[in-house]
């Protein structure tokens, strides 16, 4: 409730002090910051593994690790990046901070559940990392049976860790759905929701409908290893392909858990930095829901060579191509918004433009992979590796970086150093293409993924790729420097440094504990510039 006696110097950061006040906080903004610290730490670890992988692949033959270590490093790289960085990255970190602000609420619906979800992530991650003391994990992040049943190492710990992290995702999704339905400010109808909220809402639907399937799959895999229940073990009459069906029934929608919120961030960036009413608001909003709906019926495109029926393969191939329709609707509407906009080329917009460019390549190569005849050739080659890195790194991570720079003034009340923020963009963007574009060619030449070694004729392209990877690494280090420097020494920011129209820009930076001193009442859509 509005109080007449609020102290303008009090905000969510300095309202209470001490580490304990952070670890027990129920404030969605503080929980968002906890997620930020966790996700950035996990990203640093997963990124270090990536750098080591590219070092090993710099030359044919052994460079710095043996084949067994290599299998572990790519498993940890994948599992950390998927379960601990990209899935929680936008919803649980940026979404937690921004969602209640953008809909004019004081908090999420269930603050204690929100804190619990962070602890689920941390406990799950701790258990997963503990597997390093039990000879690591070498199954790849997909834990395919029957190998994951028989390999003698810490796979069980990693599986249990991923299971617990799954609950973190479920609880975040549950909170967001209920918050969007029940805690919107007066006048905030569904058609006045910012597009980031539409994207988070669609993501939350996936989180609650798909993640429980991962939970039961990993529970069965745990029982498989502990009790030998045999459901996925052909020796006992079980079916290993059933594991793949279960796993991808979650993990394909999970790909959209990773990319949908990124699309939401990009919609915000494009609108604010074009200073123009977004083109096709309803189309962008509904295409998020459309992508979420279609995503449940495409998992079979991971099983084109696993022995599913031809009819199933053709159906999955066709439905997969349908994903291109709502995705293209978004891209065209973003471009139409940029057209004749009053563009400000600040670093957030650069990342948004980078997203559109890279994500489009990732998306179009996804359509190529949906063609069964082509996929049989490209399956498990570097073409696939390049494709999903274009989507997940070129898409999601670009959006996270853009989103951090965009909402940084709101989170910390200070601006980042714009010059160095742009430098980080250039390094990441250029390094990214240098890393992954050659991998399309390597894949087309037939280089298989997840192999420790390669034929000599692949070496020159692998070297280019490794140099690109180190460039990306440098770019993210610069980004980390920009963020830390901005927190400590950045120029003080006003409530609305970018001229944004959504509600979070109408309160102080950083916002007070209850978000708004006066309950906002919404009378117009989110992007009414001109």
């Amino acid at each position: 409730m509005a109080t007449a006696t609020h102290d303008p110097n009090k905000n969510y950061i300095n309202e209470k002090s001490g580490i304990w006040s952070w670890l027990t906080t129920l404030d969605h903004k503080r929980i968002g910051i906890l997620y930020m610290i966790s996700v950035m730490s996990f990203f640093a670890i997963g990124g270090t593994f990536a750098m080591l992988l590219r070092w090993e692949l710099f030359s044919a033959g052994r460079n710095i690790m043996d084949a067994h270590q290599y299998n572990q490093v790519f498993t940890f790289h994948g599992a950390i990046m998927v379960f601990m960085v990209i899935i929680p990255g936008i919803p649980a970190f940026l979404g937690n901070f921004i969602l209640p602000l953008q809909i004019g609420a004081k908090d999420v619906a269930f603050p204690r559940v929100n804190l619990m979800s962070w602890y689920c992530l941390m406990i799950g991650a701790a258990i997963a990392f503990f597997s390093l003391f039990y000879n690591g994990v070498d199954t790849g992040w997909t834990f395919y049976t029957p190998y994951s049943i028989s390999t003698q190492n810490g796979t069980l710990l990693m599986v249990v860790g991923a299971f617990i992290i799954g609950f973190s995702s479920i609880l975040t999704g549950l909170n967001f759905i209920v918050t969007v339905h029940k805690l919107r400010a007066p006048g905030m109808s569904f058609w006045r929701l910012p597009l980031f909220i539409w994207a988070l809402y669609s993501t939350a639907l996936l989180q609650i409908l798909a993640t429980p399937v991962l939970a039961i799959t990993l529970l069965l895999l745990t029982a498989e290893r502990v009790l030998g229940i045999g459901i996925f073990d052909p020796k006992l009459g079980g079916d290993p392909v059933l594991f793949q069906h279960f796993f991808w029934f979650y993990s394909h929608p999970a790909v959209y858990i990773m990319i949908l919120p990124a699309m939401g961030v990009v919609s915000e960036l494009i609108a604010t930095f074009s200073h123009k009413t977004i083109f096709g608001y309803k189309a962008i909003a509904l295409s998020s829901v459309g992508i979420a709906a279609v995503s449940f019926f495409v998992w079979g495109h991971h099983l084109f060579v696993s022995g599913q029926s031809e009819v199933a393969g053709i159906l999955f191939s066709f439905i997969t191509m349908l994903v291109g329709v709502p995705t293209a609707i978004k891209v065209f509407n973003w471009v139409a918004t940029l057209y004749r906009g009053s563009m400000r080329f600040d670093s957030p917009l650069l990342f948004a433009l980078g997203f559109i460019f890279l994500f489009t390549i990732g998306g179009v190569t996804g359509i190529i992979l949906a063609v069964i005849g082509v996929d049989v050739h490209f399956h498990d080659t570097y073409f696939v590796v390049a494709h999903f890195h274009y989507v997940m790194v070129g898409g999601t991570l670009m959006a996270i970086m853009g989103g951090i720079y965009y909402w940084f003034p709101k989170m910390f009340g200070r601006m980042v150093n714009e010059f160095w923020a742009r430098i980080s963009f250039v390094l990441i963007f250029v390094g990214f293409n240098v890393t992954f574009f050659p991998q399309f060619i390597l894949g087309a030449m037939g280089m298989p993924r997840r192999y420790y070694d390669y034929l000599p004729e692949y070496q020159s392209l692998n070297r280019i790729s490794s140099v690109g990877a180190w460039t990306i690494g440098t770019g993210f280090l610069v980004g980390l420097f920009v963020i830390i420097h901005g927190m400590r020494k950045g120029v003080k920011a006003g409530p609305n440094p970018w001229g944004g129209k959504t509600l979070e820009w109408q309160t102080a930076s950083p916002p007070p504990h209850e978000n708004f001193h006066v309950q906002p009442v919404v009378t117009a859509g989110p992007y009414e510039y001109r």
Partner: protein, 221 residues
């Protein structure tokens, strides 16, 4: 939890980010329903696995089910259905403000949970005694085991499905214990019974899942 006393209502609480106790009630109830959806999807994975393998090893599943005692399963079904009634009655009496009847019904619900688990305990130990373990641990050496080499898989499904269900019964009993503590403190009444309502929804779902498990596991022979 940072609850505040509101100036208008005086004697019941709601968290600071809700407009009113009513707002908190409908929001909590909606959140519980969303949570139940995730539970249904999770159990759904098991049911899909069951359907696929039941289809594939039709006769083996029938042979496996003959090892279960349908009378004990039926007893547990009645116990859980009755507990759903008492759970619902506890909410009804909270709405009428009758504290002692709320407590009585909660205690009966909790007791039903205990009866269910006790029956399950005797069923489980009997299976262990016979060597009817899941999958690779299966060590029963009767004629059925020679007829169906993967009879252990039936018990994989039996133990995983009833085990996951049983863990939900235990979780529900924990919640009911927490409700009893709060009811003793006199926290529930016509103005505020949200935790009763939400736990009740969860308890009914746990019962409902058993309603499906009972015929699928016990009555297919």
């Amino acid at each position: 939890m940072s609850t505040v006393k509101t100036a208008t209502s005086g004697h019941h609480h709601h968290a600071h980010h809700y407009e009113s106790a009513e707002h908190e009630y409908v929001t909590s109830k909606f959140g519980t329903w969303v949570f139940l959806v995730t539970e249904i999807v999770m159990f759904g994975g098991l049911f899909v696995g069951y359907i696929l393998f039941h289809e594939k090893f039709h006769e083996m599943f029938h042979a496996g089910s003959t090892f279960l005692n349908w009378r004990l399963g039926a007893l547990n079904t009645v116990v859980l259905l009755f507990s759903s009634l008492t759970m619902a009655l506890s909410i009804y009496y909270a709405q009428l403000g009758k504290k002692s009847l709320v407590l009585l019904n909660l205690y009966v619900t909790l007791a039903c949970g205990f009866i269910f688990l006790t029956v399950k305990y005797f069923e489980y130990t009997h299976k262990f005694h016979e060597g009817l373990f899941p999958g690779a641990l299966f060590s029963y050496d009767g004629p059925e085991a020679h007829q169906f080499s993967n009879l252990g898989m039936y018990f994989s499904f039996y133990f995983v499905m009833t085990g996951l269900h049983g863990s939900h019964v235990i979780a529900g009993m924990g919640l009911i214990t927490w409700l009893i503590v709060r009811a003793h403190r006199g926290e529930f009444g016509p103005e505020y019974y949200t935790p009763l309502e939400c736990t009740g929804l969860f308890w009914h779902l746990v019962d409902l899942i058993w309603i499906y498990l009972f015929p699928l596991l016990y009555l297919i022979g």
